[in-house]
Each structure stands twice: as structure tokens, then as C-alpha cells.
Subunit: 322 residues, 2 copies
């Protein structure tokens, strides 16, 4: 416990090596990570988490670079998590590396980390959630979370952010992209990047058309045209972003964040419970599979039995407490 407290204290003081160690614990699913996060949790300062997502080639890393510069000009320390779902196809954290090579690599007020999902029970979204909290505990605010692509990981990770910006560019088929339900639903703010390129009007019209399909009671995300490269339109983007961040009551946002964190953690505990029950009733997954292949058990029967065992145990436990 003592060495954990020390690690937590060092993270709270913003020590970069302690921070890196904490993040590795999270990424690797180290059993001590839960204890560390518990210790850090009560003293995490208020902070915002901003998600930046969009298809490859949309200029996300240039935009992130601009965003970092902007928050640094306000004397804020900026944490960046570049999410890499450890895909055999992507084969590494391209964006984190690209960012590191840019202007902020030597700025001690910027901490950039690529996150994979090597062992975290909650997958990449669980790992990102815990990593964001560790960065916040170390005093980074905002925490920027960048995801590449528009797959499962992106949607899950977007749920962690207070505000998620979707970056689109003309001329790469984003007209169709924009129609995709999942990705439009996660966007609180839509950034049309590379304003100098042809096709910007069509892209904006396609985005507007697909937003028309949104339910009435959902706030329409603002749409901002920028050129991250030249800097054009960035002031309007920062205004939109600030407005979104200040439009929710901080108390309410904190509660919503806590609920999300809790649900994630309960889900991870649930996965653990399933494994524990399985071991206790059937020994192992393979032993149960053999029973199923032999025809003496069905998977549904096994599931029902585990639930019944859990019910009985809880009942007996309650009787004992009385």
C-alpha cells in the first residue's frame, strides 16, 4: 500500500516518470491499477476531456497541434492520449509519434502518450478512461483524446469525452461519411478542415442534410470551417469549443462523468464475476465446452445455472448477515 501511495503522490506532484508508470499499469491491466486509481480519485482536480476523431487524412494531428498551442497560451498543461486500438493493421501509434515530432515535443507542459489495449479488462475505452484520470490527477487540463478512424473504439472512446469534435475534409468521400449514423451521433462539434479545398460547400450541405435527420430534442452540433494548416477559422472554433465546454453545469458534468466511470467499472467487474462463476461451477471454459460438445449441457443452460448459483449465494449471504 505504501509504495502505491508514493506513486500516487508522485503522480499528483506531476512527476513524469511516475505518470508514465501509472499509465503503463493501466495499459497492461496491472492488478494494482484499480488501487492506484482509487487513491488518486478523490484528489483529481476539475478538468475537461476533449475528443478529436475523424477519418484518416482529415488533418487531425495538425488540428491537435493548433489546439495544444492554444491551451498552452492560456498557461494550461495539456495531456494528449492518442488511441491505438492495437490493430494488426495499424501496427503502432502513428499519430502519437507524429505529434511527438512536432513543436510540442520539448515542452514540459505537454504530455503525449499513445495508448493501446494490452491487458485492460475494459478494452481500449476502459484504458483511455483510466489514463485520462491519471493525467488529470497529474494536473493536466484539458485532456485531449485522439482516435483514428470511425470504428468501435472511436464510438466507445467518444463516450468518455466531455466534448467530441468530428473532423471532416472535402474530397475524400466524407459526404457519405457524414451520413453515417454512428459517427454523427458522437459529435458535439463538427470541424470542416482544409477550407481551401474544393468541395467544401457540398460537404457542408451533406453534413447539414444528415443533421436534419437528427431527433428534434437533440442539440445540433455547431459546424465550423477551418484550415488547421493556415490557421483560418481557428478563432471561431475555439469560441465554439469554449461555449460547449461552459454550456453544461460543471456539477452536472461531474455527475455524468462519474456515472460513466462507474458503469464502465461495474461492467469490468461483471466480466470478472462471469469468469469466477465459470471456474467455480465448471472448472474452465474448455471443460464446459467439452460438456457442451458432448451434448450434456447447452450454453444457455450454463448461463442460467451461473445466474441461479449467484442468486443462491447472495440469498445465503443475506441470511447470514441477519
Amino acid at each position: 500500500m505504501n509504495s502505491r501511495d508514493t506513486l500516487a503522490q508522485r503522480i499528483h506532484r506531476g512527476e513524469v516518470r511516475a505518470l508514465a508508470r501509472g499509465l503503463s499499469m493501466v495499459e497492461n491491466g496491472d492488478p494494482g491499477a484499480g488501487e492506484l486509481l482509487h487513491t488518486l480519485f478523490s484528489a483529481i482536480p476539475d478538468h475537461v476531456t476533449i475528443g478529436v476523431t475523424g477519418p484518416p487524412g482529415a488533418g487531425k494531428s495538425t488540428l491537435l497541434d493548433r489546439m495544444i498551442t492554444r491551451f498552452r497560451s492560456q498557461e494550461r498543461r495539456v495531456g494528449v492520449i492518442a488511441v491505438d486500438p492495437s490493430s494488426p493493421f495499424t501496427g503502432g501509434a502513428l499519430l502519437g509519434d507524429r505529434l511527438r515530432m512536432q513543436s510540442h515535443a520539448v515542452d514540459p507542459g505537454v504530455f503525449i502518450r499513445s495508448m493501446g489495449n494490452r491487458g485492460h479488462l475494459g478494452g481500449i475505452s476502459g484504458a483511455t478512461r483510466d489514463a485520462g484520470l491519471i493525467l488529470a490527477a497529474a494536473g493536466y487540463d484539458p485532456v485531449l483524446v485522439e482516435t483514428v478512424g470511425v470504428g468501435q473504439a472511436e464510438v466507445e472512446v467518444a463516450e468518455i469525452a466531455d466534448v467530441t469534435a468530428l473532423v471532416l475534409v472535402p474530397g475524400t468521400g466524407d459526404e457519405v461519411q457524414a451520413m453515417k449514423a454512428g459517427i454523427m451521433e458522437i459529435a458535439d462539434l463538427i470541424v470542416l478542415n482544409k477550407a481551401d479545398r474544393p468541395g467544401m460547400d457540398q460537404l457542408e450541405a451533406a453534413v447539414a442534410a444528415s443533421l436534419e435527420l437528427a431527433p428534434e430534442d437533440r442539440p445540433r452540433p455547431p459546424v465550423v470551417r477551418v484550415s488547421a494548416e493556415s490557421g483560418e477559422g481557428l478563432e471561431a472554433l475555439w469560441t465554439s469549443l469554449d461555449l460547449l465546454l461552459s454550456s453544461t453545469d460543471p456539477e452536472l458534468r461531474r455527475l455524468e462523468n462519474t456515472r460513466r466511470i462507474l458503469r464502465g467499472i461495474l461492467g469490468e467487474s461483471g466480466a470478472r464475476f462471469g469468469e469466477m462463476l465459470l471456474r467455480s461451477e465448471y472448472g474452465s471454459e474448455n471443460e464446459l465446452l467439452e460438456l457442451i460438445s458432448g451434448g450434456s449441457v447447452t450454453p444457455y443452460e450454463a448461463g442460467l445455472r451461473l445466474v441461479r448459483v449467484a442468486e443462491r449465494m447472495l440469498e445465503e449471504d443475506e441470511n447470514q448477515q441477519d
Copy 2:
């Protein structure tokens, strides 16, 4: 139990009303669904599940229509599940409806059902898994599962299928689409549709380039050019599909399917156990949230406590059995 057996028997006989009722039980998370599936499970005939996914506008419904005609010509009964992740944007099962209006609407050998995720604990992938088994129990083979878009639901649902076909079209930015890791990873077969459109060569080159990035030990998915509209290239597509379906040992496929089904069900049982533990230890999620907001508990501490309680209960239970 008796009425369940009767419903199961009626489903096995292929009665459409019983089938519809079973599917609704699955979709709504009816507590009797597990019992029904257990009863059906041992007598589910061998069958294949084919996933069809791709961005909107790729011509999936026309292709599905062709696929149904093809399997019908082999005197096979075809079940179709059109997955609708209950998005507020899509607002209903567009594709299922579109299919229903087409040529197979009055063919009793074709059963088409849109599936949402109203109450199933395993989400849309759990609901689709159970629905597919019910269709198979009623004698439908193949079961075709269609998903729209490329979000989280699509990736999860693809894991249920024996073979998943990714449908792409030129001229809609699929060059970029093709580069996306998640979607390429789920494809066993890539269908380039609308062969008459310009841009087909670029699309094929982009697909080939992104497949180059795949790990060596992963089988390369075959790429087939078709025009679902005119019928061009369909024979080659069926050949590829048949080859993929026959290339795995049926015994092995059955085992893999059972393992997937089991893992899904164990996850759902674990989640249920988690809810029970939460209720027993903290009353409800809201009560726990209040404790967390008040600063007396952290979410991580709550998660660790539930795991410890489960461990203790399982230990006591084992001691009692001795």
C-alpha cells in the same frame, strides 16, 4: 415449462408465428428467452451464417436480394436479420423494409426480420446471435445478417457470422474507407459492387494496398468485382463464398461457434451477477452514485469491493460443498 416446450416445438416445425414470437422474446430481453434457447439448442440443424456489411449506398440490399434468389434456387430456406442498432438517426429498420418490398416478400421460404436492441442484456450482438439460432432451429439455412454502416454494432455482429462480406463501391470515398483498420479486419470476402462505375480500378488498388498491411499469417480475403444490379460477376462471387464456407471443417466451425456463443452468454451472466452484487451492497446505482458524489466512496473502490464480496461468497460456497 410446458408452454415453452410447445413454442420450441412449433419453432422447430417452422411455424412463422411461433418464430416471430421467439424473435420478439429475444429482442425484448424476455426472461423466458434463455429457457427457450436452451430447449431449442440441442436440435439446431447445421447451418451457416453469412454477414453482409458496408457503408450506406454500397448496394447491400440489391446484393442480398441476389443472394436470396441464389440460395432459393438450391431449395434452401433463407433467414435474413437486418440489424438496426436502434439509432435515433436511422429511426427504424430501413433495409429490412426495403427487402420486404422486393421480390421475396411473398416467398414462404424466406423469412426477413429487422432486429433492434430493446432489452437484450448482450446488446445488439447478443440479440442477433440468439435470433440467428432461432431461425436456424426453424430450418433456415443460410442465415444472412445485414448491418448498415461501420460502427461498433457492425464489428460485433460480424463476429457472429461464419463468413462476413464487406461491400464497397467506387466513387464514394471508399478508397479511404478501405484503409480503415476495423472494417478490413472483419472481412472474409470483399465485394466491389457497381462494376460499371468509374473509379473501380482505384478502389481495387486501394483495397489491395490496405490488405498488404495485414499480418502475413492472416488469410487474405478474396476480392470480387460484381454488379448486383446487372448480375455481372455474381457467379464468381458465389464460387468464392462457397469456397470460404467449405474451407473450414464443419466440426471446427461448430466448436468455434459454440465458443463464441458461450463467451457471449458468460458475459451476460457476469453482468447480471454484477447488478445483483451492486443491489446487495449499495442498494442501487443511484445510491452508490450519491456516496461517490459525497466523497465517501470512489468508483474504483466500489468495483474492488464487489469483486472481493464475490470472491468471499464463492469461497464460502466451496467450503460448504466440502
